[in-house]
């Protein structure tokens, strides 16, 4: 065990080559600074975050190929703006997990609160439990795989990327949808404005198969899923549709 004195007090410890930040001792600022310090030159690849206890803003803005394990539940905006890192939360997460992610992989072992993957441009978000409302709101290219169910208004204004749900979807799925692809295995409580069920063609089976492979999911058959997409009636203004806006 050695101690790295980046500032006056230890921001983290290195245990068997793994950067370890214990949030019962160190601060969230210590954690994020230690991760950001890996940007120019990666000296420590693996990181453990202990005692997260629902703290907000954990592992936010990471831009290096780090492997980060958060051992417990996280608060809001965990892994936000992630680029390239592989971040696993061994617990539940609060609002906005992986919001605005650009690339990399974020995996939530528990449930996620609302707005998971909000506005994310790229990368892969896997939620092994359920996700709350507005999962994938305004998604811009991220792929999101939810092994449980998603809450209401999921994929609201989704522009690009894939939202795959192995459970059920809540009210107003895909409301005001652009070109994000939605796949749901279970029931859909209701579809939002301009979202319709679409034919599952070979290319969609292929897309879903590839997503399951990347996410390490082996217990799902893409052929069990239904596809939903935009009817493309709302996203250019037509005066005939004024009542629907």
């Amino acid at each position: 065990m050695s101690t790295n004195n980046l500032a006056e007090k230890a921001a983290f410890e290195t245990i068997n080559g793994v950067g370890t930040v214990d949030l019962s001792v160190q601060t969230v600022r210590d954690l994020n600074q230690a991760l950001h310090d890996q940007h120019d030159e990666m000296t420590i690849e693996k990181w453990d975050v202990l005692n997260p206890k629902g703290h907000h803003n954990l592992a936010v803005g990471v831009d290096q190929k780090l492997k980060i394990d958060i051992h417990g539940p996280a608060g809001y905006y965990c892994a936000g703006m992630n680029q390239e890192a592989e971040i696993t939360i061994h617990g539940h997460t609060g609002q906005g997990v992986a919001e605005n992610m650009m690339s990399g992989v974020v995996r939530v072992k528990g449930n996620a609160s609302s707005a998971a993957g909000a506005t994310a441009h790229g990368g892969l978000l896997i939620i092994e439990g359920d996700a709350g409302s507005r999962c994938g709101i305004s998604m811009k290219g991220v792929d999101i795989l939810v092994k449980g169910s998603v809450g209401h208004m999921s994929c609201f204004m989704g522009q690009a990327g894939v939202l795959a749900v192995c459970g059920d979807a809540g009210d107003a799925l895909g409301d005001s949808l652009y070109e994000a692809h939605i796949y749901v295995k279970g029931s859909v409580k209701s579809l939002g404005a301009d979202c319709i069920e679409k034919e599952m063609r070979a290319e969609h089976i292929e897309e879903l198969t590839e997503l399951f492979e990347r996410a390490g999911v082996t217990d799902q058959d893409p052929r069990d899923f239904k596809r939903y997409g935009s009817a493309r009636q709302l996203y250019n203004f037509k005066v005939d549709n004024a009542g629907a806006y």
Binding site: Q95, S113, S114
Partner: protein, 300 residues
């Protein structure tokens, strides 16, 4: 913003530690509400008569004299104890009688709550200060709901703090804001409901009081509230036997619930739940929008 926390014990295992378990939950929500804090604790129930939480601005107010006055005037026995600016009075007659007597003879005394077991305690200041002031950690009981306030709709005052009493053994805490409270306040005033502040939550509390007076069950009153109250909100309602949680149909305001064999806990953020025993293995989830959740010991 604002923070809400609630803890309902399913059995008597932690009853003697209710305050001790709850104090860190309230303090954990300081960032969401540093202006004022309060809680409604349920326990130490009276069999006959009524329990009132009374408050007087003067910390040296002569509560003993007031107790004697009530005993003499209403020909009944009064048990009482003081807690900071507040005193809890247990009086052997029904609520209306004492409340009328106080209003007519001691209008400088504020009635914070009345019921069989409820005590509402709230003040301006950081949650930690309120916890210390009322010695929350020593409190026993079956359930408790609390609130930390970041004021948006009205001034930072004790009267504008939560919980708000909504009837016998009932109280309301709220995170969010209502957009139709001015008109609704006027409508309720016409129906005889009185308001003491410009606060929007007081209007929601008044609305629930009104619906319950009209004969609604708690569930019906909350169903009607979902139709009538416009705005965004998470509400927690303390009842004699437990508590209820309801979120608006859009569910913008956060809420998380944790359940074990021993308790149900709710909070605006998970952070407030991390100190509870067995939280690592609790079932944790978010309440759905526009759905009324009720946990009560007697199941009614």
């Amino acid at each position: 913003m604002c923070g809400i926390v609630g803890l309902y014990l399913k059995n008597d295992k932690y009853e003697s530690e209710l305050g001790k378990l709850f104090a860190p939950m309230l303090i954990a929500m300081t960032e969401r509400g540093p202006d004022s804090a309060g809680f409604a604790v349920y326990g130490d129930a009276v069999e006959d008569g009524i329990k009132l939480t009374l408050r007087h601005e003067d910390e040296n107010y002569d509560w003993a004299a007031l107790a004697k006055d009530i005993e003499k005037a209403l020909d009944t026995k009064v048990d009482w104890f003081q807690n900071s600016k507040v005193a809890v009075f247990k009086v052997g007659v029904d609520a209306e009688k004492v409340e009328d007597y106080l209003e007519q003879n001691h209008d400088d005394v504020l009635i914070m709550s009345s019921g069989k077991s409820i005590e509402i305690l709230k003040e301006v200041g950081l949650p930690e200060r309120i916890v210390d002031m009322f010695k929350l950690e020593n409190m026993k009981g079956s359930h408790i709901v609390g609130h930390t306030r970041m004021a948006t709709e009205s001034a930072v005052t004790m009267a504008g703090s939560h919980p708000f009493s909504t009837g016998l053994d009932l109280c309301l805490v709220h995170n969010g804001s209502f957009s139709n409270h001015n008109r609704l306040r006027k409508e309720l005033q016409r129906e005889g409901i009185e308001f003491n502040t410009e606060n929007d939550t007081e209007v929601a509390a008044g609305y629930l009081t009104y619906r319950l007076q009209q004969g609604d069950s708690l569930n019906e009153a909350l169903e009607n509230a979902l139709k009538t109250l416009d705005g965004f909100y998470t509400l927690t309602i303390g009842t004699k036997d437990g508590f209820a949680v309801v979120r608006d149909p859009i569910a913008c305001k956060p809420a998380v619930i944790a359940e074990t064999d021993d308790y149900v806990a709710m909070a605006s953020e998970y952070q407030a739940l991390t100190t509870l025993p067995g939280i690592e293995d609790a079932k944790v989830w978010e309440p759905e929008p526009a759905r009324i959740y009720v946990w009560e010991r007697n199941g009614n």
